[in-house]
């Protein structure tokens, strides 16, 4: 289980995140929403130790992991904003990269599992990541994250720039992962997608949490919808 308490991130004097708390259990999905610049990516990056945490704590299964870089975060994987693939690596190498330092047997087993989920990648193992289409690149970024065999998967706007079909494909995969017990924390601007997929939501504005709850309630509350849309 992932727990954040009173997390604060600052860049110089810019307060990107102020006092955010949340929990995420196995098999659960939490959507983080908010306008551009609301602090969503800062939240994600702080959990993964990619930006310094000014205040507050991150816990994984009760253990304090605040500020730990990803290579010391067993069980957490990130699908970052903009996918961030290394263009010169092949699809196969990108998968290997995501697996971390594991035995050849573990690597092969994970690869088989991941490629079964993404058959479109199986036929492109030697293709360079830089030559993939947007949809394929997103699948590869997702697959790279899954190669780490995470219990918690964190995604930062995976649907950005994707066709509706490719987006639907991403969310179908995420739904399957939840069934397998993986906790999913997803930053998503598309409200209908976010609320339709997640159990709970967290709404950020200027770095502060301004709304949270179960998505079932949010669907019924017209006021929240307005808040989410930023009116």
């Amino acid at each position: 289980m992932l727990e954040l308490s009173n997390l604060c991130v600052r860049y110089g004097h810019i307060r990107a995140l102020e006092g955010v708390s949340l929990t995420l259990k196995a098999g659960e999905a939490l959507a983080v929403a908010g306008m551009n610049g609301a602090g969503k990516s800062s939240l994600v990056r702080a959990i993964c130790g990619l930006v310094p945490v000014r205040e507050g704590q991150v816990r994984l299964d009760g253990q304090a992991i605040t500020g730990r870089p990803l290579h010391r975060l067993e069980g957490v994987a990130l699908v970052p904003e903009g996918r961030v693939l290394a263009p010169s690596l092949s699809v196969s190498e990108t998968l290997w990269l995501g697996a971390g330092r594991v035995s050849a047997r573990t690597l092969a087993a994970r690869r088989d599992g991941v490629l079964a989920r993404f058959p479109e990648l199986a036929g492109r193992l030697t293709q360079r990541a830089g030559t993939l289409s947007g949809g394929e690149a997103t699948m590869l970024a997702l697959a790279r994250g899954l190669m780490a065999a995470p219990r918690i998967l964190i995604l930062d706007e995976p649907s950005l720039g994707l066709s509706p079909a490719a987006t639907a494909r991403v969310f179908d995969t995420l739904a399957e992962l939840r069934q397998d017990g993986i906790g999913v924390l997803i930053v998503e601007q598309n409200l209908h997608l976010a609320l339709g997929f997640a159990d709970r939501f967290l709404l950020l504005q200027h770095g502060r949490p301004v709304g949270e709850g179960s998505t079932a309630e949010a669907d019924r509350s017209a006021g929240l919808e307005e808040l989410l849309l930023g009116h």
């Binding site: 990619l50 870089p69 290579h71 263009p87 010169s88 690596l89 290997w96 360079r128 830089g130 790279r144």
Partner: protein, 300 residues
């Protein structure tokens, strides 16, 4: 005349292979950290002096001398990395360079104090016969240079393509952020790359010192300059280019030395550097790394 040209080219290729190894070390560090390590040559110089000292004090054979050079270069590089690169923030490239410059002076001063004479002997490959290929002669130490460089480059290529460390190194050179978000321990890879570069440089330094039979503390600066020029000729950031750059530099220098003398050689070297910068800003190996990345990102 033609025979001289062929002979010089053979000699130049051998020395150029050692230059190529120096450039390879530079390129590895530059590719992964995007910074120049001015103290690269002086780290090698420390290793060479460690080897020369061991030989003078204990008259040990070539293998222990070689190991001492390797160890000296790698340990010094670890020191340089900790002081000038790891300790300085990721985006402060100029500070790293200035700091590695200061360390270079520190290392050279230290060696000049411990070894106050100007030149010292270095063991050579004695007892190996001159190799005759028709009318062309190949010095045995040059054959060792060529074979070692070829084997080292082949091993490096293989390691980069097939090992986990090679994969992490390539990712870091290609797109550091991709390494970070994929859970690569970036600081560890950078440190190990630094040591690998020093080991390659140490091997080159050992071969060069063994071919010359004598060394001075200036060999550090010399190695930095030769490696830098070969890297620039080959195109910054490309391993293949570094090797080609070294070979071209070696061949041009050997011929210039023969036909124009020592002063002519220096002038030709700098003319070559100038031409490389003006005519081939992307180096002999073709397009720049930045260009390749921009191209790849347009598709992403």
């Amino acid at each position: 005349m033609l025979l001289d040209l062929v002979q010089n080219t053979v000699d130049g290729l051998a020395v150029g292979a050692a230059y190529g190894l120096l450039a390879l070390g530079f390129t590895l560090i530059f590719g992964v950290m995007r910074r120049l390590n001015i103290a690269f040559g002086p780290s090698i110089m420390i290793g060479i002096f460690a080897g020369a000292w061991l030989h003078a004090e204990w008259s040990v054979g070539m293998v222990p001398v070689f190991l001492a050079v390797l160890a000296g270069a790698v340990i010094t590089a670890a020191y340089v990395e900790r002081i000038s690169f790891a300790a300085i923030r990721g985006d402060a490239a100029l500070a790293s360079m200035a700091s590695s410059f200061a360390i270079w002076m520190q290392l050279e001063e230290a060696v000049a104090r411990v070894f106050p004479g100007r030149t010292y002997g270095f063991p050579t490959f004695d007892g190996m016969p001159m190799i005759e290929i028709g009318p062309v002669l190949l010095r045995p130490e040059y054959l060792v240079m060529l074979v070692t460089a070829a084997a080292l480059v082949a091993a490096l290529q293989w390691g980069l393509a097939h090992t986990r460390f090679g994969l992490e190194l390539r990712t870091l050179a290609d797109r550091p952020e991709a390494a970070r978000v994929s859970g690569v321990n970036v600081a560890r890879v950078a440190f190990l790359t630094f040591l690998l570069a020093a080991a390659i440089g140490g091997i080159a330094g050992f071969l060069i010192a063994a071919a010359d039979g004598q060394i001075t503390p200036k060999i550090g600066l010399w190695a930095t300059i030769k490696g830098l020029i070969a890297m620039v000729i080959g195109g910054l950031g490309s391993l293949r280019g570094a090797l080609i750059g070294g070979l071209v530099l070696g061949v041009v220098e050997a011929n210039a030395q023969w036909f124009l003398g020592a002063a002519g050689r220096e002038m030709t070297t700098y003319a070559l550097l100038f031409l490389a910068l003006v005519l081939l800003p992307a180096g002999l190996a073709g397009r720049t790394e930045a260009g390749a990345r921009a191209e790849a990102e347009r598709r992403l």
